[in-house]
Symmetry: C2
Subunit: 320 residues, 2 copies
Amino acid sequence: MNLDDIYRPINEEREKVERCLDAATDVDVPLLRQLLEYALKGRGKRIRPSLALLCGRLHAYDSSLVVPMAAAVELLHTATLVHDDVVDHSPVRRGKPTVSRAWGENRALLLGDYLFAKAGSLAASTGNLRVIELFAETIMTISSSEMRQSVYSFDLREARGYYYTWISAKTASLFSLATESGAVLGQSPEDMVVAMRDYGHNFGMAFQILDDVLDFVGEEAEVGKPVGSDLGEGAVTLPSILYADSHPGDNLIKRVIENRDAESVALAVEKIRNSPAIAECLAIASDFSSRARRAIEKLPDNDIRQALLDLATYIIKRRK
Amino acid sequence: MNLDDIYRPINEEREKVERCLDAATDVDVPLLRQLLEYALKGRGKRIRPSLALLCGRLHAYDSSLVVPMAAAVELLHTATLVHDDVVDHSPVRRGKPTVSRAWGENRALLLGDYLFAKAGSLAASTGNLRVIELFAETIMTISSSEMRQSVYSFDLREARGYYYTWISAKTASLFSLATESGAVLGQSPEDMVVAMRDYGHNFGMAFQILDDVLDFVGEEAEVGKPVGSDLGEGAVTLPSILYADSHPGDNLIKRVIENRDAESVALAVEKIRNSPAIAECLAIASDFSSRARRAIEKLPDNDIRQALLDLATYIIKRRK
Protein backbone atom coordinates (compact mmCIF):
# COMPACT_ATOMS: atom_id res chain seq x y z
CA MET A 1 0.00 0.00 0.00
CA ASN A 2 1.59 3.25 -1.07
CA LEU A 3 0.44 6.85 -1.05
CA ASP A 4 -0.07 7.05 -4.81
CA ASP A 5 -2.58 4.21 -4.63
CA ILE A 6 -4.39 5.72 -1.68
CA TYR A 7 -4.60 9.13 -3.30
CA ARG A 8 -5.92 7.77 -6.61
CA PRO A 9 -9.59 8.80 -6.07
CA ILE A 10 -8.52 12.42 -5.54
CA ASN A 11 -5.70 12.73 -8.08
CA GLU A 12 -7.45 15.44 -10.02
CA GLU A 13 -8.31 17.51 -6.93
CA ARG A 14 -4.78 17.12 -5.59
CA GLU A 15 -3.49 18.62 -8.83
CA LYS A 16 -5.91 21.53 -8.36
CA VAL A 17 -4.54 22.09 -4.86
CA GLU A 18 -1.02 22.21 -6.31
CA ARG A 19 -2.13 24.82 -8.81
CA CYS A 20 -3.76 26.77 -5.99
CA LEU A 21 -0.47 26.64 -4.04
CA ASP A 22 1.43 27.71 -7.17
CA ALA A 23 -0.94 30.65 -7.52
CA ALA A 24 -0.23 31.57 -3.89
CA THR A 25 3.43 32.12 -4.79
CA ASP A 26 2.53 34.58 -7.54
CA VAL A 27 3.24 37.83 -5.69
CA ASP A 28 4.92 41.02 -6.83
CA VAL A 29 7.65 41.14 -4.17
CA PRO A 30 10.51 39.06 -5.66
CA LEU A 31 12.01 37.99 -2.33
CA LEU A 32 8.61 36.95 -1.00
CA ARG A 33 7.93 34.93 -4.15
CA GLN A 34 11.29 33.22 -3.81
CA LEU A 35 10.62 32.31 -0.18
CA LEU A 36 7.09 31.12 -0.87
CA GLU A 37 8.37 28.86 -3.63
CA TYR A 38 11.13 27.55 -1.41
CA ALA A 39 8.76 26.78 1.45
CA LEU A 40 5.96 25.30 -0.66
CA LYS A 41 7.70 23.50 -3.49
CA GLY A 42 9.38 21.01 -1.16
CA ARG A 43 6.32 18.86 -1.88
CA GLY A 44 5.88 17.08 1.37
CA LYS A 45 3.37 14.25 1.39
CA ARG A 46 0.49 16.75 1.38
CA ILE A 47 -1.38 14.56 3.81
CA ARG A 48 -3.40 17.37 5.39
CA PRO A 49 -4.85 18.81 2.17
CA SER A 50 -5.52 15.28 0.93
CA LEU A 51 -7.51 14.58 4.09
CA ALA A 52 -9.56 17.71 3.48
CA LEU A 53 -10.23 16.60 -0.10
CA LEU A 54 -11.22 13.09 0.93
CA CYS A 55 -13.53 14.29 3.70
CA GLY A 56 -15.00 16.83 1.30
CA ARG A 57 -15.83 13.99 -1.08
CA LEU A 58 -17.63 11.70 1.37
CA HIS A 59 -21.01 13.37 1.02
CA ALA A 60 -22.05 16.13 -1.38
CA TYR A 61 -19.02 17.63 -3.10
CA ASP A 62 -18.10 21.03 -4.40
CA SER A 63 -14.47 21.15 -5.39
CA SER A 64 -14.59 24.94 -5.78
CA LEU A 65 -14.91 25.16 -1.98
CA VAL A 66 -12.86 22.20 -0.79
CA VAL A 67 -9.81 22.83 -2.99
CA PRO A 68 -9.05 26.33 -1.62
CA MET A 69 -9.63 25.06 1.91
CA ALA A 70 -7.25 22.14 1.33
CA ALA A 71 -4.67 24.64 0.09
CA ALA A 72 -5.38 26.85 3.13
CA VAL A 73 -4.63 23.91 5.44
CA GLU A 74 -1.31 23.25 3.68
CA LEU A 75 -0.36 26.95 3.84
CA LEU A 76 -1.27 27.08 7.52
CA HIS A 77 0.82 23.97 8.15
CA THR A 78 3.74 25.55 6.29
CA ALA A 79 3.37 28.79 8.27
CA THR A 80 3.60 26.89 11.56
CA LEU A 81 6.69 24.99 10.34
CA VAL A 82 8.41 28.21 9.28
CA HIS A 83 7.73 29.86 12.65
CA ASP A 84 8.62 26.66 14.55
CA ASP A 85 12.00 26.66 12.85
CA VAL A 86 12.56 30.24 14.00
CA VAL A 87 11.62 29.38 17.59
CA ASP A 88 13.75 26.22 17.63
CA HIS A 89 16.63 27.69 15.57
CA SER A 90 16.39 24.53 13.44
CA PRO A 91 18.99 24.34 10.66
CA VAL A 92 17.36 21.65 8.52
CA ARG A 93 13.83 20.66 7.46
CA ARG A 94 12.98 17.93 4.96
CA GLY A 95 16.64 17.60 4.11
CA LYS A 96 17.23 21.22 3.17
CA PRO A 97 18.13 24.37 5.10
CA THR A 98 15.21 26.01 6.87
CA VAL A 99 14.03 29.44 5.69
CA SER A 100 15.30 30.97 8.92
CA ARG A 101 18.75 29.43 8.42
CA ALA A 102 18.99 30.34 4.75
CA TRP A 103 17.39 33.82 4.79
CA GLY A 104 17.46 34.80 8.45
CA GLU A 105 14.91 34.71 11.24
CA ASN A 106 13.34 38.08 10.41
CA ARG A 107 12.36 37.02 6.94
CA ALA A 108 11.15 33.67 8.20
CA LEU A 109 8.93 35.50 10.68
CA LEU A 110 7.48 37.71 7.93
CA LEU A 111 7.04 34.75 5.59
CA GLY A 112 5.10 32.91 8.30
CA ASP A 113 2.86 35.94 8.84
CA TYR A 114 2.19 36.16 5.14
CA LEU A 115 1.41 32.45 4.93
CA PHE A 116 -1.03 32.65 7.86
CA ALA A 117 -2.84 35.51 6.15
CA LYS A 118 -2.86 33.89 2.71
CA ALA A 119 -4.21 30.73 4.29
CA GLY A 120 -6.86 32.80 6.05
CA SER A 121 -7.77 34.49 2.80
CA LEU A 122 -8.26 31.12 1.09
CA ALA A 123 -10.31 29.85 4.04
CA ALA A 124 -12.41 33.02 3.79
CA SER A 125 -12.92 32.41 0.07
CA THR A 126 -15.03 29.36 0.94
CA GLY A 127 -17.60 31.79 2.31
CA ASN A 128 -18.27 29.30 5.12
CA LEU A 129 -18.18 31.05 8.47
CA ARG A 130 -17.94 27.85 10.50
CA VAL A 131 -14.83 26.83 8.62
CA ILE A 132 -13.33 30.33 8.89
CA GLU A 133 -13.91 30.38 12.64
CA LEU A 134 -12.43 26.88 12.97
CA PHE A 135 -9.40 28.04 11.03
CA ALA A 136 -8.75 30.98 13.39
CA GLU A 137 -9.33 28.81 16.46
CA THR A 138 -6.77 26.30 15.22
CA ILE A 139 -4.03 28.94 15.02
CA MET A 140 -4.95 30.07 18.54
CA THR A 141 -4.75 26.48 19.78
CA ILE A 142 -1.34 25.93 18.18
CA SER A 143 0.29 29.19 19.27
CA SER A 144 -1.04 29.09 22.83
CA SER A 145 0.16 25.52 23.17
CA GLU A 146 3.63 26.49 21.98
CA MET A 147 3.56 29.30 24.53
CA ARG A 148 2.73 26.83 27.30
CA GLN A 149 5.49 24.55 26.06
CA SER A 150 7.98 27.43 26.35
CA VAL A 151 7.67 27.37 30.15
CA TYR A 152 7.18 23.64 30.57
CA SER A 153 9.53 21.88 32.93
CA PHE A 154 9.70 18.13 32.70
CA ASP A 155 8.05 16.15 35.48
CA LEU A 156 7.89 12.42 34.81
CA ARG A 157 4.71 11.93 36.85
CA GLU A 158 2.67 14.12 34.55
CA ALA A 159 4.77 13.86 31.42
CA ARG A 160 2.54 11.48 29.49
CA GLY A 161 -0.65 13.49 30.01
CA TYR A 162 1.19 16.66 29.14
CA TYR A 163 2.59 15.09 25.99
CA TYR A 164 -0.84 14.07 24.75
CA THR A 165 -2.25 17.53 25.44
CA TRP A 166 0.72 19.06 23.65
CA ILE A 167 0.59 16.98 20.46
CA SER A 168 -3.19 17.25 20.38
CA ALA A 169 -2.80 21.05 20.22
CA LYS A 170 0.27 21.35 18.03
CA THR A 171 -0.44 18.57 15.53
CA ALA A 172 -3.80 16.86 15.80
CA SER A 173 -5.66 20.19 15.74
CA LEU A 174 -4.46 20.82 12.19
CA PHE A 175 -5.51 17.34 11.05
CA SER A 176 -8.95 17.72 12.58
CA LEU A 177 -9.21 21.17 10.97
CA ALA A 178 -8.56 19.46 7.63
CA THR A 179 -11.08 16.66 8.13
CA GLU A 180 -13.77 18.72 9.85
CA SER A 181 -13.63 21.57 7.35
CA GLY A 182 -13.70 19.08 4.47
CA ALA A 183 -16.79 17.49 5.99
CA VAL A 184 -18.48 20.84 6.63
CA LEU A 185 -17.77 22.10 3.12
CA GLY A 186 -19.03 18.78 1.73
CA GLN A 187 -22.31 19.51 3.53
CA SER A 188 -22.10 16.35 5.57
CA PRO A 189 -24.75 15.89 8.26
CA GLU A 190 -23.59 16.75 11.75
CA ASP A 191 -22.93 13.17 12.92
CA MET A 192 -20.64 12.67 9.91
CA VAL A 193 -18.85 15.93 10.68
CA VAL A 194 -18.23 14.74 14.24
CA ALA A 195 -17.01 11.37 12.96
CA MET A 196 -14.55 13.02 10.58
CA ARG A 197 -13.31 15.39 13.27
CA ASP A 198 -12.66 12.41 15.55
CA TYR A 199 -10.94 10.63 12.71
CA GLY A 200 -8.71 13.67 12.11
CA HIS A 201 -7.84 14.04 15.79
CA ASN A 202 -6.85 10.40 16.25
CA PHE A 203 -5.08 10.35 12.90
CA GLY A 204 -3.05 13.38 13.99
CA MET A 205 -2.14 11.79 17.32
CA ALA A 206 -0.93 8.63 15.58
CA PHE A 207 0.91 10.72 13.00
CA GLN A 208 2.81 12.73 15.61
CA ILE A 209 3.74 9.72 17.74
CA LEU A 210 5.17 8.08 14.65
CA ASP A 211 7.10 11.25 13.85
CA ASP A 212 8.49 11.18 17.36
CA VAL A 213 9.49 7.53 16.99
CA LEU A 214 11.15 8.23 13.63
CA ASP A 215 13.18 10.95 15.30
CA PHE A 216 14.90 8.10 17.17
CA VAL A 217 14.87 5.18 14.75
CA GLY A 218 14.54 6.80 11.32
CA GLU A 219 17.30 7.22 8.77
CA GLU A 220 18.52 10.82 8.54
CA ALA A 221 18.37 10.67 4.74
CA GLU A 222 14.68 9.70 4.86
CA VAL A 223 13.49 11.76 7.82
CA GLY A 224 15.31 14.84 6.51
CA LYS A 225 16.92 15.86 9.80
CA PRO A 226 19.52 14.38 12.15
CA VAL A 227 18.42 11.49 14.37
CA GLY A 228 17.61 12.60 17.92
CA SER A 229 17.05 16.24 16.93
CA ASP A 230 14.06 16.65 19.21
CA LEU A 231 15.81 15.52 22.37
CA GLY A 232 18.84 17.58 21.41
CA GLU A 233 16.54 20.62 21.32
CA GLY A 234 15.09 19.73 24.71
CA ALA A 235 11.77 18.32 23.48
CA VAL A 236 10.83 15.30 25.57
CA THR A 237 8.59 13.11 23.42
CA LEU A 238 6.85 9.80 24.05
CA PRO A 239 9.84 7.48 23.46
CA SER A 240 11.87 9.37 26.12
CA ILE A 241 8.90 9.43 28.50
CA LEU A 242 8.24 5.70 28.22
CA TYR A 243 11.95 4.95 28.55
CA ALA A 244 12.22 7.09 31.69
CA ASP A 245 9.04 5.49 33.03
CA SER A 246 10.51 2.01 32.85
CA HIS A 247 13.94 3.04 34.19
CA PRO A 248 13.05 4.78 37.46
CA GLY A 249 16.62 4.59 38.78
CA ASP A 250 18.19 5.94 35.59
CA ASN A 251 18.60 9.74 35.52
CA LEU A 252 19.63 9.82 31.88
CA ILE A 253 16.61 11.76 30.55
CA LYS A 254 16.77 14.21 33.45
CA ARG A 255 20.49 14.75 32.74
CA VAL A 256 19.85 15.31 29.05
CA ILE A 257 17.17 17.91 29.78
CA GLU A 258 19.36 19.71 32.28
CA ASN A 259 22.62 19.69 30.33
CA ARG A 260 21.74 19.01 26.72
CA ASP A 261 25.40 18.21 26.07
CA ALA A 262 26.00 16.29 22.85
CA GLU A 263 27.42 13.29 24.68
CA SER A 264 24.39 12.77 26.96
CA VAL A 265 22.03 13.29 24.05
CA ALA A 266 23.85 10.74 21.89
CA LEU A 267 23.89 8.21 24.75
CA ALA A 268 20.17 8.74 25.45
CA VAL A 269 19.24 8.40 21.78
CA GLU A 270 21.23 5.18 21.53
CA LYS A 271 19.65 3.70 24.66
CA ILE A 272 16.11 4.74 23.75
CA ARG A 273 16.25 3.50 20.16
CA ASN A 274 17.33 0.08 21.40
CA SER A 275 14.78 -0.09 24.22
CA PRO A 276 11.25 -1.56 24.33
CA ALA A 277 9.95 2.05 24.53
CA ILE A 278 9.97 2.16 20.72
CA ALA A 279 7.66 -0.84 20.38
CA GLU A 280 5.41 0.58 23.09
CA CYS A 281 5.15 3.86 21.19
CA LEU A 282 4.31 2.05 17.99
CA ALA A 283 1.57 0.15 19.83
CA ILE A 284 0.12 3.43 21.10
CA ALA A 285 0.30 4.97 17.61
CA SER A 286 -1.43 1.88 16.29
CA ASP A 287 -4.14 2.31 18.91
CA PHE A 288 -4.79 5.91 17.82
CA SER A 289 -4.84 4.77 14.20
CA SER A 290 -7.46 2.13 15.11
CA ARG A 291 -9.56 4.77 16.84
CA ALA A 292 -9.36 6.92 13.70
CA ARG A 293 -10.54 4.02 11.58
CA ARG A 294 -13.33 3.12 14.01
CA ALA A 295 -14.53 6.74 13.99
CA ILE A 296 -15.48 6.47 10.31
CA GLU A 297 -16.57 2.85 10.09
CA LYS A 298 -20.25 3.81 9.98
CA LEU A 299 -19.74 6.17 7.06
CA PRO A 300 -20.97 5.06 3.60
CA ASP A 301 -18.78 2.23 2.29
CA ASN A 302 -17.11 3.59 -0.83
CA ASP A 303 -13.66 4.20 -2.31
CA ILE A 304 -13.28 7.46 -0.39
CA ARG A 305 -13.88 5.84 2.98
CA GLN A 306 -11.48 3.08 1.95
CA ALA A 307 -8.82 5.68 1.15
CA LEU A 308 -9.27 7.24 4.61
CA LEU A 309 -8.99 3.81 6.25
CA ASP A 310 -5.87 3.00 4.24
CA LEU A 311 -4.30 6.37 4.99
CA ALA A 312 -4.77 5.81 8.72
CA THR A 313 -2.87 2.53 8.33
CA TYR A 314 -0.24 4.02 6.02
CA ILE A 315 0.82 6.73 8.44
CA ILE A 316 1.80 4.27 11.17
CA LYS A 317 3.76 2.08 8.74
CA ARG A 318 5.73 4.85 7.07
CA ARG A 319 9.51 5.22 7.42
CA LYS A 320 9.68 8.95 6.77
CA MET B 1 -9.44 70.07 20.87
CA ASN B 2 -8.43 66.93 22.70
CA LEU B 3 -9.10 63.24 22.12
CA ASP B 4 -11.61 62.90 24.95
CA ASP B 5 -13.81 65.55 23.34
CA ILE B 6 -13.53 63.97 19.91
CA TYR B 7 -14.33 60.52 21.23
CA ARG B 8 -17.40 61.68 23.19
CA PRO B 9 -20.04 60.39 20.72
CA ILE B 10 -18.58 56.88 20.96
CA ASN B 11 -17.65 56.74 24.65
CA GLU B 12 -19.98 53.86 25.35
CA GLU B 13 -18.81 51.80 22.38
CA ARG B 14 -15.17 52.51 23.22
CA GLU B 15 -15.79 51.01 26.64
CA LYS B 16 -17.31 47.95 24.98
CA VAL B 17 -14.17 47.58 22.87
CA GLU B 18 -12.07 47.69 26.04
CA ARG B 19 -14.19 44.94 27.55
CA CYS B 20 -13.80 42.94 24.36
CA LEU B 21 -10.01 43.36 24.58
CA ASP B 22 -10.11 42.38 28.25
CA ALA B 23 -12.03 39.25 27.30
CA ALA B 24 -9.34 38.46 24.73
CA THR B 25 -6.78 38.19 27.54
CA ASP B 26 -8.87 35.60 29.37
CA VAL B 27 -7.00 32.46 28.31
CA ASP B 28 -5.98 29.39 30.27
CA VAL B 29 -2.25 29.52 29.60
CA PRO B 30 -0.89 31.79 32.39
CA LEU B 31 2.12 33.06 30.44
CA LEU B 32 -0.01 33.86 27.42
CA ARG B 33 -2.50 35.74 29.60
CA GLN B 34 0.33 37.73 31.16
CA LEU B 35 1.75 38.67 27.76
CA LEU B 36 -1.65 39.56 26.32
CA GLU B 37 -2.32 41.84 29.27
CA TYR B 38 1.11 43.41 28.95
CA ALA B 39 0.70 44.06 25.23
CA LEU B 40 -2.89 45.29 25.37
CA LYS B 41 -3.16 47.16 28.65
CA GLY B 42 -0.69 49.84 27.60
CA ARG B 43 -3.76 51.72 26.45
CA GLY B 44 -2.47 53.53 23.44
CA LYS B 45 -4.73 56.16 21.95
CA ARG B 46 -6.94 53.45 20.40
CA ILE B 47 -7.27 55.54 17.27
CA ARG B 48 -7.82 52.59 14.91
CA PRO B 49 -10.72 50.97 16.79
CA SER B 50 -12.25 54.41 17.35
CA LEU B 51 -12.16 55.04 13.60
CA ALA B 52 -13.95 51.74 13.03
CA LEU B 53 -16.60 52.71 15.59
CA LEU B 54 -17.11 56.17 14.10
CA CYS B 55 -17.37 54.85 10.55
CA GLY B 56 -19.73 52.15 11.78
CA ARG B 57 -21.97 54.85 13.21
CA LEU B 58 -22.27 57.05 10.13
CA HIS B 59 -25.12 55.11 8.56
CA ALA B 60 -27.13 52.22 10.04
CA TYR B 61 -25.46 50.93 13.18
CA ASP B 62 -25.19 47.57 14.87
CA SER B 63 -22.72 47.72 17.72
CA SER B 64 -22.75 43.93 18.07
CA LEU B 65 -20.86 43.78 14.75
CA VAL B 66 -18.73 46.91 14.83
CA VAL B 67 -17.40 46.49 18.38
CA PRO B 68 -15.73 43.09 17.75
CA MET B 69 -14.32 44.40 14.48
CA ALA B 70 -12.92 47.47 16.22
CA ALA B 71 -11.30 45.14 18.77
CA ALA B 72 -10.00 42.97 15.91
CA VAL B 73 -8.32 45.99 14.34
CA GLU B 74 -6.61 46.87 17.63
CA LEU B 75 -5.45 43.26 18.14
CA LEU B 76 -4.13 43.15 14.59
CA HIS B 77 -2.30 46.42 15.16
CA THR B 78 -0.81 45.04 18.38
CA ALA B 79 0.25 41.83 16.62
CA THR B 80 2.12 43.81 13.98
CA LEU B 81 3.85 45.92 16.67
CA VAL B 82 4.92 42.81 18.59
CA HIS B 83 6.37 41.19 15.46
CA ASP B 84 7.94 44.49 14.30
CA ASP B 85 9.78 44.72 17.60
CA VAL B 86 11.15 41.21 17.06
CA VAL B 87 12.33 42.08 13.55
CA ASP B 88 13.86 45.39 14.63
CA HIS B 89 15.19 44.10 17.99
CA SER B 90 13.55 47.18 19.54
CA PRO B 91 14.11 47.50 23.28
CA VAL B 92 11.36 50.01 24.09
CA ARG B 93 7.80 50.70 22.95
CA ARG B 94 5.46 53.29 24.48
CA GLY B 95 7.99 53.89 27.24
CA LYS B 96 8.21 50.29 28.43
CA PRO B 97 10.29 47.28 27.43
CA THR B 98 9.00 45.45 24.35
CA VAL B 99 7.63 41.93 24.74
CA SER B 100 10.61 40.57 22.83
CA ARG B 101 13.05 42.36 25.12
CA ALA B 102 11.26 41.39 28.33
CA TRP B 103 10.23 37.79 27.47
CA GLY B 104 12.42 36.91 24.52
CA GLU B 105 11.88 36.87 20.78
CA ASN B 106 10.39 33.37 20.65
CA ARG B 107 7.54 34.26 22.96
CA ALA B 108 6.99 37.54 21.16
CA LEU B 109 6.71 35.61 17.90
CA LEU B 110 4.13 33.24 19.41
CA LEU B 111 2.24 36.10 21.04
CA GLY B 112 2.00 37.85 17.67
CA ASP B 113 0.71 34.67 16.02
CA TYR B 114 -1.91 34.30 18.72
CA LEU B 115 -2.96 37.94 18.36
CA PHE B 116 -3.31 37.61 14.58
CA ALA B 117 -5.54 34.58 15.06
CA LYS B 118 -7.62 36.12 17.84
CA ALA B 119 -8.09 39.21 15.71
CA GLY B 120 -9.11 36.95 12.82
CA SER B 121 -11.56 35.15 15.05
CA LEU B 122 -13.19 38.44 16.09
CA ALA B 123 -13.32 39.60 12.48
CA ALA B 124 -14.95 36.27 11.58
CA SER B 125 -17.49 36.76 14.36
CA THR B 126 -18.99 39.65 12.39
CA GLY B 127 -20.16 37.07 9.87
CA ASN B 128 -19.32 39.55 7.11
CA LEU B 129 -17.23 37.89 4.41
CA ARG B 130 -16.15 41.13 2.78
CA VAL B 131 -14.71 42.35 6.08
CA ILE B 132 -13.06 39.00 6.78
CA GLU B 133 -11.41 38.98 3.35
CA LEU B 134 -10.29 42.59 3.81
CA PHE B 135 -8.79 41.63 7.15
CA ALA B 136 -6.70 38.81 5.65
CA GLU B 137 -5.62 41.00 2.72
CA THR B 138 -4.39 43.67 5.12
CA ILE B 139 -2.04 41.24 6.87
CA MET B 140 -0.75 40.13 3.47
CA THR B 141 -0.16 43.75 2.48
CA ILE B 142 1.70 44.53 5.69
CA SER B 143 3.92 41.43 5.79
CA SER B 144 4.82 41.49 2.09
CA SER B 145 5.72 45.16 2.39
CA GLU B 146 8.00 44.45 5.34
CA MET B 147 9.58 41.69 3.27
CA ARG B 148 10.25 44.15 0.44
CA GLN B 149 11.65 46.61 2.96
CA SER B 150 14.10 43.95 4.19
CA VAL B 151 15.98 44.07 0.87
CA TYR B 152 15.52 47.76 0.14
CA SER B 153 18.63 49.74 -0.55
CA PHE B 154 18.35 53.48 -0.38
CA ASP B 155 18.38 55.38 -3.64
CA LEU B 156 17.57 59.07 -3.27
CA ARG B 157 16.05 59.35 -6.74
CA GLU B 158 13.26 56.94 -5.94
CA ALA B 159 13.20 57.31 -2.17
CA ARG B 160 10.11 59.46 -1.88
CA GLY B 161 7.92 57.21 -4.03
CA TYR B 162 9.21 54.18 -2.21
CA TYR B 163 8.48 55.80 1.15
CA TYR B 164 4.86 56.52 0.22
CA THR B 165 4.36 52.98 -1.03
CA TRP B 166 5.92 51.63 2.13
CA ILE B 167 3.88 53.64 4.65
CA SER B 168 0.73 53.06 2.62
CA ALA B 169 1.25 49.31 3.07
CA LYS B 170 2.59 49.21 6.61
CA THR B 171 0.40 51.88 8.21
CA ALA B 172 -2.37 53.32 6.06
CA SER B 173 -3.67 49.84 5.16
CA LEU B 174 -4.62 49.23 8.78
CA PHE B 175 -6.39 52.59 9.03
CA SER B 176 -8.35 51.99 5.85
CA LEU B 177 -9.20 48.49 7.13
CA ALA B 178 -10.67 50.18 10.22
CA THR B 179 -12.68 52.77 8.33
CA GLU B 180 -13.79 50.56 5.44
CA SER B 181 -14.84 47.67 7.66
CA GLY B 182 -16.71 50.06 9.95
CA ALA B 183 -18.53 51.46 6.92
CA VAL B 184 -19.31 48.01 5.52
CA LEU B 185 -20.60 46.71 8.85
CA GLY B 186 -22.66 49.88 9.22
CA GLN B 187 -24.32 48.94 5.91
CA SER B 188 -23.23 52.16 4.26
CA PRO B 189 -23.96 52.49 0.54
CA GLU B 190 -20.95 51.78 -1.68
CA ASP B 191 -20.03 55.42 -2.36
CA MET B 192 -19.87 56.05 1.39
CA VAL B 193 -17.71 52.94 1.84
CA VAL B 194 -15.30 54.26 -0.79
CA ALA B 195 -15.27 57.69 0.87
CA MET B 196 -14.45 56.18 4.25
CA ARG B 197 -11.73 53.98 2.79
CA ASP B 198 -10.15 57.06 1.18
CA TYR B 199 -10.47 58.89 4.45
CA GLY B 200 -8.72 56.01 6.28
CA HIS B 201 -5.92 55.82 3.74
CA ASN B 202 -5.13 59.53 3.80
CA PHE B 203 -5.55 59.63 7.58
CA GLY B 204 -3.03 56.79 7.88
CA MET B 205 -0.54 58.53 5.59
CA ALA B 206 -0.77 61.74 7.63
CA PHE B 207 -0.51 59.74 10.84
CA GLN B 208 2.69 57.94 9.79
CA ILE B 209 4.39 61.07 8.48
CA LEU B 210 3.72 62.75 11.80
CA ASP B 211 5.10 59.72 13.62
CA ASP B 212 8.21 59.97 11.49
CA VAL B 213 8.54 63.68 12.27
CA LEU B 214 8.08 63.03 16.00
CA ASP B 215 10.90 60.51 15.82
CA PHE B 216 13.14 63.53 15.16
CA VAL B 217 11.55 66.37 17.07
CA GLY B 218 9.48 64.65 19.79
CA GLU B 219 10.36 64.40 23.46
CA GLU B 220 11.51 60.92 24.41
CA ALA B 221 9.26 60.96 27.48
CA GLU B 222 6.22 61.64 25.30
CA VAL B 223 7.04 59.55 22.24
CA GLY B 224 8.06 56.60 24.42
CA LYS B 225 11.28 55.78 22.59
CA PRO B 226 14.64 57.51 22.06
CA VAL B 227 14.75 60.37 19.55
CA GLY B 228 16.15 59.28 16.18
CA SER B 229 15.43 55.57 16.77
CA ASP B 230 14.28 54.99 13.23
CA LEU B 231 17.39 56.33 11.55
CA GLY B 232 19.52 54.48 14.10
CA GLU B 233 17.81 51.28 12.96
CA GLY B 234 18.43 52.13 9.31
CA ALA B 235 14.89 53.25 8.46
CA VAL B 236 15.05 56.23 6.12
CA THR B 237 11.84 58.19 6.57
CA LEU B 238 10.49 61.37 5.00
CA PRO B 239 12.47 63.90 7.10
CA SER B 240 15.75 62.24 6.06
CA ILE B 241 14.66 61.99 2.44
CA LEU B 242 13.66 65.66 2.22
CA TYR B 243 16.85 66.70 3.99
CA ALA B 244 18.99 64.66 1.59
CA ASP B 245 17.00 66.03 -1.34
CA SER B 246 17.83 69.60 -0.45
CA HIS B 247 21.49 68.88 0.38
CA PRO B 248 22.73 67.15 -2.78
CA GLY B 249 26.38 67.65 -1.89
CA ASP B 250 26.03 66.34 1.66
CA ASN B 251 26.61 62.61 2.04
CA LEU B 252 25.41 62.51 5.64
CA ILE B 253 22.33 60.31 5.10
CA LYS B 254 24.28 57.95 2.86
CA ARG B 255 26.99 57.69 5.53
CA VAL B 256 24.45 57.00 8.23
CA ILE B 257 22.85 54.21 6.21
CA GLU B 258 26.19 52.65 5.39
CA ASN B 259 27.79 52.86 8.83
CA ARG B 260 24.99 53.41 11.32
CA ASP B 261 27.56 54.46 13.89
CA ALA B 262 26.13 56.36 16.85
CA GLU B 263 28.08 59.50 16.05
CA SER B 264 26.83 59.85 12.45
CA VAL B 265 23.28 59.08 13.56
CA ALA B 266 23.38 61.71 16.29
CA LEU B 267 24.80 64.28 13.90
CA ALA B 268 22.19 63.50 11.25
CA VAL B 269 19.33 63.67 13.76
CA GLU B 270 20.59 67.04 14.98
CA LYS B 271 20.92 68.45 11.47
CA ILE B 272 17.57 67.12 10.28
CA ARG B 273 15.60 68.27 13.30
CA ASN B 274 16.90 71.81 12.79
CA SER B 275 16.36 71.83 9.04
CA PRO B 276 13.40 73.03 6.94
CA ALA B 277 12.72 69.34 6.13
CA ILE B 278 10.62 69.15 9.31
CA ALA B 279 8.29 71.97 8.23
CA GLU B 280 8.05 70.44 4.76
CA CYS B 281 7.03 67.10 6.27
CA LEU B 282 4.42 68.77 8.41
CA ALA B 283 3.02 70.48 5.32
CA ILE B 284 2.79 67.14 3.53
CA ALA B 285 1.11 65.54 6.55
CA SER B 286 -1.29 68.44 6.62
CA ASP B 287 -2.05 67.88 2.94
CA PHE B 288 -2.91 64.20 3.55
CA SER B 289 -5.07 65.25 6.49
CA SER B 290 -6.92 67.69 4.22
CA ARG B 291 -7.47 64.95 1.67
CA ALA B 292 -8.90 62.74 4.41
CA ARG B 293 -11.30 65.48 5.45
CA ARG B 294 -12.30 66.22 1.88
CA ALA B 295 -13.03 62.54 1.28
CA ILE B 296 -15.87 62.64 3.79
CA GLU B 297 -17.17 66.17 3.27
CA LYS B 298 -20.21 64.91 1.35
CA LEU B 299 -21.24 62.52 4.12
CA PRO B 300 -24.26 63.46 6.26
CA ASP B 301 -23.43 66.42 8.49
CA ASN B 302 -23.70 65.12 12.04
CA ASP B 303 -21.63 64.74 15.22
CA ILE B 304 -19.99 61.57 13.91
CA ARG B 305 -18.71 63.21 10.74
CA GLN B 306 -17.53 66.14 12.86
CA ALA B 307 -15.58 63.73 15.08
CA LEU B 308 -13.91 62.22 12.00
CA LEU B 309 -13.02 65.71 10.73
CA ASP B 310 -11.63 66.71 14.12
CA LEU B 311 -9.65 63.49 14.45
CA ALA B 312 -7.98 64.10 11.09
CA THR B 313 -6.89 67.50 12.39
CA TYR B 314 -5.90 66.19 15.79
CA ILE B 315 -3.45 63.61 14.45
CA ILE B 316 -1.31 66.18 12.69
CA LYS B 317 -1.23 68.45 15.76
CA ARG B 318 -0.32 65.80 18.32
CA ARG B 319 2.99 65.74 20.16
CA LYS B 320 3.08 62.01 20.90
